[in-house]
């Protein structure tokens, strides 16, 4: 899962640099192979399942609701990671996919569909939108891309007002009543947790698989150097479009879950603020692995709805915290964790070799 990092600054924390090697005795010729090849799926999956099972018994009431929101945001952040972390396209319009999913679900509220079907429809619509965005924005990169996606998101936001009759403008569409799923009443907080965390886990797993696949590695290649990638015969266009569609699909799922939880959708879901928030979640959590977005989402949700709630100083504190994360904590929380683990390992090996 280590391959997801955004262009790491090569000069830092490079475990195989001459100096680091000087410190830690090289663990033999197989070291690189082990690093590149080990499949850590099982431990991650186990951890995920344990968490999903444990959380509802550890948390109740508002805390469980917050955790549920965090997981949904985490899935949303994961969709941003696909574009940003995997193919290096930092989108500032990610909320468009989220909002599309949410609005699709909201507009289907009177059809009494199975929630999972709604998820698929929402994700599919968002994916189609992603395809359109890919066609429009797929040629740009860097700051142009960020701005272009920001603009496209803003246009979508405007459409909600222009077509008042369909989208109800600022008022949004509220009143989703989630249908029971396999006889499970989703009005129940615990049930909703299992439902949304389960969906998130399944799709996180799928993404994990994709990331380790040939296509996943092509994403990294395209991110690192699109010109070189094309010279190898991989189609940058295809790779970017695929990433877009995956991102849109997952973002759409998160949107559907969110509107099911909040019982509706409003233009705020498609706003630049939302797009910005999700990037923050990604950054807070760190891009080095797929837990990052979830950790980031949890921290962000907690900060914004709990810690600094109820006074107008909240924005100051949130801003300060985010600044600290962006400026000081490169690689986010998961980056810190990984660095800590690496340091610990290094300590252990040096201690061992010393004795």
């Amino acid at each position: 899962m280590n391959e997801g990092n955004v262009k790491t600054r090569v000069d830092e924390d490079n475990p195989s640099s001459p100096a680091a090697e000087g410190l830690a005795p090289s663990s033999g010729a197989s070291a690189w192979w082990a690093r590149a090849g080990r499949n850590r799926l099982v431990p991650h999956a186990v951890l995920a399942i344990v968490l999903i099972v444990l959380v509802p018994s550890l948390l109740t009431g508002s805390n469980l609701a917050l955790a549920t929101t965090a997981v949904i945001y985490g899935l949303f952040a994961l969709s941003a990671l696909v574009l940003f972390g995997w193919v290096g396209l930092g989108s500032f319009g990610q909320a468009a996919f989220f909002g599309t999913g949410a609005y699709t679900a909201a507009m289907l509220k009177d059809h009494q569909l199975n929630p999972l079907i709604v998820i698929l429809i929402g994700a599919f619509v968002a994916m189609l939108l992603a395809l359109v965005v890919a066609i429009l924005a797929g040629n740009s990169s860097g700051i142009q891309f960020a701005m272009l996606t920001l603009v496209l998101g803003e246009v979508l936001h405007q459409l909600l007002f222009t077509f008042r009759d369909v989208f109800h403008g600022d008022d949004g569409i509220f009143g989703i009543t989630a249908q029971p799923l396999f006889g499970m009443n989703l009005f129940d907080q615990k049930n909703f947790w299992w439902y949304s965390a389960g969906v998130a886990a399944v799709f996180a797993l799928v993404l994990y698989g994709i990331h380790r696949s040939q296509l996943g590695k092509t994403f990294t290649a395209v991110r690192d150097d699109p010109v070189k990638a094309a010279a190898l015969g991989t189609s940058v266009r295809v790779a970017r479009t695929a990433a877009f569609m995956i991102s849109g699909f997952v973002g759409g799922i998160a949107g559907v879950l969110y509107s099911q939880q909040q019982t509706g959708a409003a233009p705020g879901l498609v706003s630049t603020v939302m797009s910005g928030s999700v990037i923050f979640m990604v950054f807070i959590g760190g891009t080095s692995n797929m837990w990052g977005p979830f950790v980031g989402a949890l921290v962000y949700t907690y900060l914004t709805t709990r810690l600094f709630q109820g006074s107008n100083t909240s924005t100051i504190w949130i801003g300060l915290l985010l600044l600290v994360v962006v400026v000081l904590v490169r690689g986010g929380i998961m980056g810190l964790v990984e660095r800590g683990v690496r340091l610990l390992k290094q300590r252990v090996t040096t201690a061992r070799s010393a004795s």
Binding site: R9, D11, E12, D13, N14, S17, P18, A19, A20, E21, G22
Partner: protein
């Protein structure tokens, strides 16, 4: 003492947590031309960057005509009179070649136009490129402009990182000539270069690095005349290669 242009004393250079040059000591007399040799990754580029203080962390003492510059920022060092030709050229692509040169000329070094003319004389290839934009240059042309730009600033010490790379043989020849002349005119020159002939012809002394450590310093003549030395220090013998990392 202060007649030495550069005195590096136990200088260690690191990128983040990775050390690239270990405890290097090197003295370059005023007006001397010294070559830095070594295999890929030996630390040549890093050494030059270290003197300038650009992009690499320094430990140890670096004195420039007796003055400690080891803690200074690159721009301060540059203003003291150290010019640099980076290995990746770093031409301003949206500016014309003339503007590139003018940027490097400092008021202190006299009228800008004269300085440019002088630099063009040192690297004649540049003359016809003056009105072109940086993007409109081929790799070798950029190299030539990078050298001219360093000369424009009338440095007392010139750091050349692989100046001959990518240049046509005929240009390499004339460049060597120019370097010799600059050196004669009193400029102190440090060249990191793979092209052995170029270095040996242009310098009086060479310093060979290996894996970030100095392994040999001797006169260029001696080094040039000794295939054994060359073989020992520059060739990648297979067993050596195996242990390298």
């Amino acid at each position: 003492m202060s007649t030495d242009a550069l005195v590096l004393d136990d200088v260690t250079l690191t990128y983040g947590s990775a050390t690239a040059v270990f405890g290097l000591s090197l003295t370059v007399g005023a007006g001397e031309a010294v070559g830095i040799l070594g295999r890929n990754g030996a630390g040549k580029t890093t050494t030059l960057r270290g003197i300038l203080g650009s992009g690499v962390r320094r430990k140890g003492s670096i004195r420039y005509f007796g003055e400690e510059i080891g803690g200074m920022r690159a721009d301060q060092v540059a203003r003291k009179g150290i010019g640099w030709v980076p290995d990746d050229r770093r031409i301003y692509t949206t500016l014309t070649v003339r503007e590139n040169l003018l940027l490097a000329s400092r008021e202190r070094s006299g009228p800008a136009k004269e300085a440019v003319d002088e630099a063009v004389a040192a690297v004649p290839l540049v003359e016809k490129l003056l009105p072109r934009k940086g993007v409109q240059l081929s790799g070798g042309e950029q190299q030539a402009v990078a050298i001219a730009r360093a000369v424009v600033g009338r440095p007392k010490v010139l750091l050349l990182d692989e100046p001959a790379e990518g240049l046509a043989p005929i240009i390499v020849e004339s460049l060597q000539q120019s370097v010799i002349e600059l050196s004669r005119s009193g400029m102190t020159i440090l060249i990191a270069e793979q092209n052995l002939n170029f270095v040996l012809g242009a310098t009086q002394r060479v310093c060979v690095l290996d894996s970030g450590r100095e392994v040999l310093t001797c006169s260029s003549e001696e080094f040039g005349n000794s295939p054994e030395l060359q073989n020992q220090h520059l060739a990648i013998s297979l067993e050596n290669h195996g242990k390298r990392r």
